[in-house]
């Protein structure tokens, strides 16, 4: 097995069995894990506690008990999370952090069925003036105080500033990884690319950074060869399950960049420098751009994607539409106009974590590729 393969296998193992990654962390540090729901949370504060922040992004799970508490017109990611809450999947977590950028998440933070204590917080949506930063600093103080109370510890500014360094480094490395993945689509098919990115949800970010750096170094030793298939950009909340990415792979579609909430949006924006760590985190939220969850009078997302398509020479943009996700669904008609105006091919496919069959999507992708 080549070094690259070994590293990829390690990332895959983490994604396939996050429970083990969490248990290993516990065994090593004596500390537990804290759940972080999508999309944005001040993870650095969580990291500063010494506990492992783990991403909770749902998964494939037949919905039965959750149906009592959530009607069918809720996004599938929250349906699966709720089902797993009821099943006790998250009960080992020392706490769960939930943001409230959409109407679904506002409700979600109030209806957690698991046993772990919940810390809900809210982002400002009038972001482009100083009052937003003041508000967010206070809101993050609230998160910090709650964490301290639940865990019985004190979180120092120094620890958060250090965590910010760790996270900013991970972000930079991940941005570089995405560039490298675009150069080596033969190595990083859609599933492998996703696996490397997804693993950061369950790994200590410092550890993840180290491994991704190794991976980049190894891959860069190989020469770049022209790619025979087509190049695509993904946008949306997420492009799961893996069976979906397998369909892209089947038709030789390479993901050369993404604007997925679960992927690049997580590391697109660094935390700016400064001394007060909470204020720094607040500023980061102000800098978030082109995301359906961050209100922006100029709505730059569509244009940003058009530019991305030009930059990476992408043949098409695939909109991975999380079913019943209002924020994303409202962005779509505007993006569509912008794609059409720029002459960029695009395809909307529906994301449903519970979906069993990829047949419909396969047919649509196939005819889309044939038209390219």
């Amino acid at each position: 097995m080549s070094k690259v393969d070994t590293l990829l296998a390690e990332f895959e193992a983490v994604c396939k069995n996050p429970k083990k990654a969490m248990d290993d962390f516990k065994a090593k540090t004596g500390k537990g894990c804290i759940g972080v729901l999508p999309v944005y949370a001040p993870e650095e504060i969580v990291y500063a506690t010494g506990y492992l922040p783990v991403g909770i992004w749902g998964g494939k799970k037949p919905i039965s008990k959750a149906a009592t508490y959530l009607p069918a017109f809720a996004c599938s990611i929250m349906q699966s999370i709720l089902e797993m809450e009821i099943d006790g999947t998250y009960d080992d977590l020392a706490a769960v952090v939930i943001s409230s950028p959409c109407d679904t998440l506002k409700c979600f933070g109030q209806k957690w069925k698991g046993k772990s204590p919940v810390i809900q917080f809210v982002h400002s949506q009038n972001r482009d003036f100083e009052a937003s930063n003041t508000f967010m600093t206070e809101e993050y103080k609230f998160v910090k105080t709650k964490l301290e109370k639940i865990l019985g510890i004190t979180i120092t500014d120094e620890a958060i500033n250090k965590a910010i360094d760790v996270y900013n480094e991970n972000r930079a490395v991940m941005r570089m990884f995405c560039e490298v993945a675009a150069m080596y689509p033969q190595v990083f098919d859609p599933v492998k690319r996703h696996t490397v990115i997804k693993a950061r949800q369950f790994m200590d970010k410092a550890e993840h950074t180290k491994k991704v750096k190794e991976l980049i170094t190894e891959v860069m030793k190989e020469s770049v060869v022209p790619y025979k298939g087509k190049k695509i950009i993904l946008t949306g909340i997420m492009a799961e399950p893996n069976e979906l990415l397998d369909v892209f792979k089947e038709f030789d579609l390479a993901v050369v960049a993404d604007d997925l909430a679960q992927e690049s949006r997580q590391f697109r924006t660094d935390v700016p420098s400064g001394s007060d760590p909470l204020y720094r985190l607040a500023k980061q939220w102000q800098n978030v751009d082109g995301c359906s969850l961050a209100t922006d009078r100029d709505k730059p997302r569509g244009q940003m994607l058009v530019e991305m398509a030009h930059k990476y020479g992408a043949d098409a943009i695939i909109v991975c539409m999380m079913k019943f996700c209002d924020p994303e669904e409202f962005d779509y008609p505007i993006m569509l106009q912008q794609f059409e105006a720029a002459g960029i091919r695009n395809l909307k496919i529906e994301i449903d974590q519970q979906s069993d069959s990829m047949e419909q999507i396969r047919t649509r992708v196939q005819s889309f590729v044939e038209m390219m």
């Binding site: 508490y69 009607p71 709505k299 505007i334």
Partner: protein
């Protein structure tokens, strides 16, 4: 005001509602400024500067109530919106496109002509828009789309979700800065300084309107009630549109007088037919307003409890930005489950309801996704039974008369049984 002298409340409602739309259209024709606003956004800033206010939710409700929704909803779907988005927003965004098309081509698109035929009031395109997410975050996205489509200034009054009660001071501080910023934006659009003297007058008028509204709606507490909640749904149009002017005060004062006279004479809204009293949680089903009313009427169920009246009861001392921030932020759907449960339970207790009906609204995630938890907790506190039905405030495709009737009948039976048991015990 002599123009409404001698009119009863219902006539005043009709008169002012029409006038309101006509005035805005005429003003727009004269080049005066128009603002589109969400229904519970602070109107005070624009009203102060003489900007004409249009409330798309209200207009969309009228489209629904006058059975004009289907075709325009399909237009929105063709633009890329899905059936899952709030139907108010879909109607408004499609209507906006029709207005733009008309303006560009000089010809009235067929779909718009059809709505005109249904006597759905015309609204002018906006010069500025304002939204406040105290009712939902969907509005932020909806108005964002208007802002980029029309390239107009967008005032956001962000009322951060109150996940832990009470409302923190720093939330109010943030909102106060937003108010200042809104004033600046209004100044920029108008090209003249904000008129603080007029602002005081507008605030005073708003408080008088709200007081008259409170008084009229408060009559629902009388047993038997002279006010039916469905009338309240109708009068609501005016507290939305005319909160900051005399029209609301005038109409609701008359209404309160009429209701007081009825109550004194012991006349209820059903003319003696009130058997049970229920609360209605959620928005009305506008395309089926008549059906939803008649099904209750047939069973003697008077709908007297609603969180609606409270939604516009925004009280503050004139000139007190802190209180104003608090008032706009505390809208119950913008707050945690515990507060929501308290607000609904208070409504049930204050209006002596014996049951509550929950609208599981396909359009409105925020007003639906906590229904189960709310219903359980409200029942725990008040002891009143509940039922739930599936619907949508303006998309007629998402409502079934048969399901509604069955649910309502079941609730009626439980309530009557509970009342009988209570009587037997006494």
């Amino acid at each position: 005001m002599t123009e409404t002298e001698g009119m009863n409340a219902k006539q005043k409602l009709g008169y002012y509602t029409n006038k309101f739309y006509e005035d805005a259209l005429a003003a727009h024709g004269k080049g005066e400024l128009v603002c589109w606003s969400s229904s519970i956004a602070p109107a005070e800033f624009c009203e102060t500067m003489g900007i004409h206010m249009i409330y798309p939710e209200n207009h969309a409700a009228a489209v629904g109530a006058k059975h004009g929704a289907i075709e325009i909803l399909e237009l929105a779907e063709r633009k890329g919106y899905t059936m899952d988005n709030c139907s108010y927003s879909r109607i408004n965004l499609a209507y906006m496109d029709l207005l733009v098309e008309e303006k560009k081509t000089g010809k009235t698109p067929a779909a718009l002509a059809k709505l005109d035929e249904l006597k759905i009031p015309r609204i002018p395109l906006p010069d500025i828009i304002i939204t406040c997410n105290n009712i939902c975050n969907t509005l932020l996205k909806w108005y964002e789309n208007i802002a980029v489509s029309l390239n107009v200034p967008y005032i956001i009054i962000d009322t951060p979700y109150v996940h832990d009660w009470p409302i923190p001071q720093y939330t109010r501080d943030y909102m106060k800065e937003e108010f200042k910023r809104a004033i600046k934006q209004v100044e920029d659009v108008c090209g003249r300084p904000f008129d603080y003297e007029k602002f005081v007058k507008v605030q005073e008028q708003t408080q008088r309107s709200v007081a008259a509204w409170d008084k009229a709606m408060g009559m629902a507490a009388v047993v038997p009630s002279p006010l039916s909640g469905f009338d309240m749904f109708n009068y609501m149009a005016l507290i939305v549109c005319a909160r900051s002017n005399f029209a609301a005060e005038d109409t609701f004062t008359t209404l309160a007088d009429e209701l007081e006279a009825k109550a004194a004479a012991g006349i209820d809204a059903f003319k003696g037919g009130e058997k049970t009293r229920i609360a209605w949680e959620g928005i009305a089903v506008w395309p089926y307003l008549s059906h939803t009313y008649k099904a209750l009427r047939a069973l003697g169920m008077n709908m007297v409890g609603s969180t609606y009246p409270g939604a516009w009861s925004i009280h503050y001392e004139v000139g007190d930005f802190d209180a104003m921030a608090d008032g706009y932020c505390r809208m119950y759907s913008n707050t945690c489950l515990d507060n929501k449960v308290n607000v609904i339970s208070d409504v049930i207790e204050n209006t002596h309801c014996t049951g509550i009906l929950y609208h599981m609204n396909r359009s409105c995630k925020l007003m639906s996704f906590l229904n189960e938890e709310t219903a359980e907790k409200v029942k725990e506190r008040t002891g009143v039974p509940f039922a739930s039905f599936d619907g949508d405030q303006t998309d007629p495709r998402n409502f079934s008369e048969a399901q509604y009737d069955t649910r309502v009948e079941a609730l009626s039976e439980i309530m009557e049984q509970m009342i009988a048991e209570k009587k037997a015990k006494a």
